[in-house]
Each structure stands twice: as structure tokens, then as C-alpha cells.
């Protein structure tokens, strides 16, 4: 479990003091995929660097499984960093080393025997789907492949936490999707807690279980992705969820119920879902917000519906939508 308590970070520059993070408190439970989303300059990158103490917080604590990272010596911290590894926007692979040697690097510096390190590195390259690129150099790889190598490298020391700093921001949508799938797989198979820093709503929607919205160095809102994205309360959250401005008048929450529909690889080439529901069930819903994309003929993203007519109607809507493979629906 990662506990961030009253974290503050102030940078001193020639132009005066800049408060990048103001009294941030977050709890990230084991096994979560926790998204931290915000606009540029919201303090996301600083926050993630405070989690592994690449940046020392000005005040506040970061506790990993109850141990205070800020109180550790440099040596203890270096050992702890093997438990909290990181991937980056620009992959940051060693350019003069082969992929295999890149994956070996963290094991090499932790003093593992070269033979053992090499064997484990090969296993990891297989896990990320690039066993054939072991002897290639990073420059010979595409962005997505480089990020896979970086993920293999981040897994080399059997971490408990994987920090992803804008890990998909330099990738195209298809590659982003593939990398997110891989991260989700890793989270499920290895039980690694994942913290994802991003400015892309779609990333959070696709894989995160929890989200915190960062705005001007403060946590504007946090909770499960479903709750935060379907009924955003803070101005910052509303800006992200409804980039074109929310119109409250469209739906009155006291009269209508809200249902959040998540498309996670639903067959997009099939029938028009909402229209068919109206026809078959006679339920007319309003679409309050929708952000869906087709990737390889499958639909990803989410939709927010307003359902009139009380609990019963909502139950019918959820039942109907849930019956479609790859679609999740929940009342919010």
C-alpha cells in the first residue's frame, strides 16, 4: 500500500518559489491500477517522482507498506527503489546497450550474477513479447517495442509497484492500447500495483480502477473511475470529463438516474447499441457524454447515460447492456 500524506513540494527558482504540490494525500491499495490525471503543469510528474524520492518532498510523507521513504538513508532508498520501478514517456533505454543488456541493467547494479540476470532478462523479454529482439539496439525498435523493453526492465527486480510517467503519451492509439493491455496483464498476473500518470482521459478510462485528478498542485477529486467520471464534482474533473463544457440542464440527477457504460473491446461492427435498446425495450435514454474509439474493430471508452423512469428502468438498461460481450454498465 502506498500512502501519501500531506505531501508538499516547493521549487526554488530565480523567479521565486513555485509550489508544485500542495498538501497531497492519497492512498493507493495493493493491486490497484491508480490513475493520476491532470493538465500540463498540474504537478503530476513531480508527484510521481516524490513517490520514489527522485524528488525529495518539502513536507509530508510517502509510506510504502508503512515504511517512510523520506526517513531512509540514500542506501536504503536505493534498495527500496528496486521495489518501486518506473517507466517513462521517452522510454529512457540505454542507447548503447542491446535490449537484453538493458533488461539486465537493474539486476547488474543490484549485484545479481550475470548468468542469472541474463536468464531472467530473456524470460522478461518473452513476457513482453519481444524475445527475438534480445540482441537488437533500442534505435532499431519502434516506440511501442522500446516501451515493452522498458517494461521488461522495470520488472527485472520483482517490484511491488510500477510507476508509469506518461508511458503512452509518445505512442499512437493502437500502440497505446497494446501497451495498456500489457500493463493490465502484468497487474493481474503479477499482482503489481500500478500508478499511471497521464493527461489522456482515454488511458484512465481504459485500465484504471481508481483515479485522482490533480489540478494546480492539489487533488481536486479522487475515487473509483466510475464515480469520478460519471458524476464529476470539482471544476477540474468536469473540465476533463466534459471538455466542451457540461450542460447541467440536459439531465437533472434528481429525476433521472445515471448509468455509466464502459466499452472494453466490445464488437463495434455490430448493431447500434443504444438505438437497438430503444427499439427492443422501449427505453429512451439521453447520452450525456461519450468518448469511444474503435481499435481493430473493437470499441473502447465510455458513455454516460441518463435514464428516466426510476430504479426498475435502470435495472433493465443495465441488464440489457451487460448482455453484450465487452460492455460493462453500472449505476452511478
Amino acid at each position: 500500500m502506498i500512502e501519501i500524506k500531506h505531501l508538499t513540494k516547493t521549487f526554488h527558482s530565480a523567479g521565486g518559489e513555485v509550489e508544485a504540490l500542495k498538501d497531497i494525500s492519497l492512498t493507493i491499495k495493493d493491486g490497484d491500477i491508480f490513475g493520476i490525471i491532470g493538465m500540463s503543469g498540474a504537478g503530476k510528474s513531480t508527484l510521481v517522482r516524490c513517490i520514489n524520492m527522485l524528488e525529495r518532498p518539502t513536507a509530508g510523507q510517502v509510506l510504502i507498506d508503512g515504511r517512510d521513504l523520506g526517513a531512509m538513508s540514500e542506501k536504503e532508498l536505493r534498495a527500496e527503489r528496486r521495489n518501486i520501478t518506473m517507466i517513462f514517456q521517452h522510454f529512457n533505454l540505454l542507447q548503447q546497450r542491446t535490449c537484453l543488456k538493458n533488461v539486465c541493467f537493474p539486476m547488474e547494479i543490484s549485484g545479481m550474477k550475470p548468468g542469472d540476470a541474463k536468464r531472467r532478462a530473456m524470460e522478461l523479454l518473452e513476457l513482453v513479447g519481444l524475445p527475438d529482439k534480445a540482441n537488437a539496439y533500442p534505435s532499431q525498435l519502434s516506440g511501442g517495442q522500446q516501451q515493452r523493453v522498458a517494461i521488461a526492465r522495470a520488472l527485472a527486480t520483482d517490484p511491488k509497484v510500477l510507476l508509469c510517467d506518461e508511458a503512452t503519451s509518445a505512442l499512437d492509439p493502437n500502440t497505446t492500447h497494446a501497451i495498456l493491455e500489457l500493463i493490465r496483464d502484468i497487474n493481474r498476473k503479477l499482482g503489481i500495483t500500478v500508478v499511471i500518470i497521464t493527461h489522456q482521459m482515454s488511458v484512465v478510462e481504459e485500465i484504471c480502477t481508481h483515479v485522482a485528478i490533480l489540478d494546480g498542485g492539489e487533488v481536486a477529486e479522487q475515487g473509483t473511475v466510475g464515480t469520478v467520471f460519471s458524476s464529476p464534482k470539482s471544476a477540474a474533473a468536469k473540465r476533463l470529463v466534459f471538455p466542451n463544457g457540461e450542460d447541467e440542464l440536459v439531465s437533472d440527477p434528481t429525476v433521472e438516474q445515471r448509468v455509466r457504460v464502459v466499452f472494453n473491446g466490445a464488437d463495434a461492427t455490430g448493431k447500434p447499441l443504444i438505438a437497438t435498446m430503444a427499439q427492443e425495450k422501449g427505453i429512451l435514454v439521453s447520452i450525456l457524454a461519450a468518448s469511444t474509439r474503435g481499435l481493430d474493430g473493437k470499441a473502447y471508452g465510455s458513455m454516460l447515460l441518463a435514464v428516466p423512469g426510476g430504479k426498475e428502468q435502470v435495472g433493465q438498461v443495465i441488464e440489457y447492456l451487460q448482455s453484450v460481450p465487452g460492455v460493462l454498465a453500472e449505476e452511478v
Binding site: 520514489n52 527522485l54 532508498l77 536505493r78 534498495a79 527500496e80 527503489r81 528496486r82 520501478t85 518506473m86 517513462f88 521517452h90 529512457n92 533505454l93 540505454l94 542507447q95 548503447q96 546497450r97 541493467f105 537493474p106 547488474e108 547494479i109 543490484s110 539496439y137 533500442p138 534505435s139 532499431q140 526492465r153 527486480t157 510507476l163
Partner: protein, 233 residues
């Protein structure tokens, strides 16, 4: 100056020198240059690492006054003209090699002149290393020493080779100048014949060989740089 450059006597003499003195001159020039550059690298490389790693934002910040002193010393040595430095280095040459004149003695001022230069070149090479890659290594728990040894130096090998080539050609130029204090080699031949005895053709021949050596160093250096750089393929 050049009207009798190709008179029969001049050509004859040049051919004689070509056979007798030039081969040994080439050998002396090459070995003085290589030895001086290698020694300069032995001092300059760690110094360059110190300049980058010990910097305020480096991987192992050192006390500011210390860094300031190191910087001033390097700048000081770099601002003395080589001709003057050769003379100023006499006491040091006497201590180290027991004499102030001759080929071996000329290596001392060459090293003194070249190591601060090498240190600055190394500093430049190491600063080129992507800070994000260093941060990645830190995020994996690398010690400052490991970052220098396993990240910064290996990542900047192509740049270091390229800069080593710059250093060796510069030292070659200096070594030709050391003919003044009896340092042997092509420079001495050029000065002795061309400057003291007005035998310009011999001077031209010696200079041509200097040019050839620079060409060879540079070609080999460039080839090695490209060959070592895994970013280019």
C-alpha cells in the same frame, strides 16, 4: 621565399632528408603524440568525470568551493599559450624526466597542456548524455559510481572517441611546436631546415607528412566513432 623551392639542389637535399631523417621523425612525432595524449587522457578523463558528477546538479554533488578551484585551475592552464607553457614546465620536466630538453622532456609540457583540454572535452561529452536516462538509472537504485561507470561513460563512448580524436590532432600540432625546445619529430625537422636554414622544400615535405598523419588520425577516429555508435543503425 619559394622561388628556388624546386632547384635541383633543394630537391636532392629533400630526397636525402626524406630517406634519412623523415622516417625517424614520423616515428618520434607519432609516439610523442600518442603517449602525451594517452597520459593526458589518464588525468583528463577522471577530471572531466569529476566536473560533471560533482556539479551542483550532478549525480554526486561536491562542495562548491572545491569545484570552483578545479574549474579555475583548468581555465588557468588552458589560457597559457603552449609556447610559454613549454618554458614554464621546465622545472616539472626536470623533476619528472631529469632533463628539460629533448624528445622525452617535451612530453611533460604536452601532457600539462593537453589534460585540461581533455578534461573539458570529456565534460562536454558526458553532459550530452540524456538526463532522462540518468534519471531512469537513479529510479532503478543505481549508485553515483554505477551511473558514471555503467551509464554516463558507456553512453558517451562515440562522443568520447570523437573528442579523443580532436585531442590527439591538437597534441600533434603542439608536439610540432615542441621542436623549439628540442622535442624531436617532424616539427623539429621543419623548424631546423625551414626556419633556421631556409631549406623550404624540406619544411614542406615535413609539413606534408604532418598533414598525412592528421588525416590518418581523423579518418580512423571518425570510423571508430561511427562504428561504436549504436544509435545510428
Amino acid at each position: 621565399m619559394f622561388e628556388k623551392l624546386f632547384s635541383p639542389e633543394a630537391v636532392q637535399q629533400a630526397l636525402d632528408v626524406l630517406k634519412t631523417e623523415i622516417p625517424f621523425g614520423i616515428w618520434e612525432t607519432v609516439y610523442v603524440t600518442v603517449l602525451a595524449t594517452v597520459l593526458a587522457a589518464v588525468i583528463g578523463l577522471p577530471l572531466g568525470v569529476l566536473l560533471v558528477a560533482g556539479d551542483e546538479n550532478g549525480v554526486r554533488p561536491l562542495p562548491k568551493p572545491l569545484m570552483h578551484v578545479v574549474n579555475v585551475i583548468i581555465n588557468l592552464l588552458r589560457s597559457i599559450p603552449f609556447l610559454i607553457l613549454m618554458i614554464m614546465a621546465f622545472p616539472l620536466s626536470r623533476v619528472i624526466v631529469g632533463t628539460t630538453v629533448g624528445t622525452v622532456a617535451s612530453i611533460v609540457p604536452l601532457v600539462v597542456a593537453a589534460f585540461p583540454f581533455v578534461a573539458r572535452l570529456v565534460e562536454g561529452s558526458l553532459r550530452e548524455v540524456d538526463g532522462n536516462i540518468i534519471e531512469a538509472a537513479q529510479s532503478m537504485g543505481a549508485t553515483p559510481f554505477q551511473i558514471v561507470w555503467k551509464v554516463m561513460l558507456p553512453e558517451s563512448v562515440p562522443s568520447l572517441i570523437s573528442n579523443f580524436t580532436v585531442a590527439i590532432t591538437t597534441v600533434l600540432g603542439y608536439s610540432a611546436m615542441s621542436g623549439i625546445i628540442g622535442g624531436g619529430g617532424l616539427g623539429m625537422i621543419a623548424i631546423n631546415y625551414g626556419y633556421y636554414r631556409y631549406k623550404y622544400l624540406v619544411m614542406v615535405v615535413a609539413v606534408v607528412f604532418l598533414i598525412l598523419i592528421v588525416q590518418i588520425f581523423q579518418t580512423v577516429g571518425t570510423k571508430l566513432t561511427v562504428k561504436c555508435d549504436k544509435r545510428l543503425k
